[in-house]
Symmetry: C2
Subunit: 89 residues, 2 copies
């Protein structure tokens, strides 16, 4: 693997894993008030499309990274929707 | 452009643009309490690396998408850091 690929690999790792502390915070506090519902709807659609793109182009790193991100982002979206009654957005 | 490329294009558009409603919500409410600081630190690092990766591989769509995402995510991170005194995380 060329060193340039490592940059892409670390980039994918960061953008995927960044949702882990947010998911943890949501579990811990159950507070999603300042989180944007629209952001997570659009993000989940986007990551699903990235996953489909990865499958269509048989790109394993893309599939793995976006599968993990999808699980995390969809979980945050799920809690956000569950909280809709008490959240203002 | 092949139709598969359109899937990637729409995917990139969604994941980049998703941060726009979150940035808008942050501007409107100034509330960032339930937003994870660690998420945005890691995300901004990740998107910066994606941008570098795009530059190194001369991939214009990757550069454009990640430049926009970086601006939006860095803005949200900036407000989150500014709010640290009043936020719990």
């Amino acid at each position: 693997m060329e060193w340039v690929s490592y940059v892409g690999f670390v980039a994918a790792f960061c953008t995927s894993m960044s949702f882990l502390p947010q998911a943890y915070k949501v579990i811990k506090t159950r507070d999603t008030r300042s989180i944007s519902l629209v952001m997570y709807i659009v993000y989940v659609i986007g990551v699903s499309l990235w996953l489909i793109y990865g499958i269509l182009t048989a790109d394993i790193p893309l599939i793995v990274a976006n599968f993990v991100t999808l699980l995390l982002a969809a979980f945050i979206l799920f809690i956000k929707i569950k909280n809709r009654g008490t959240d203002k957005t």
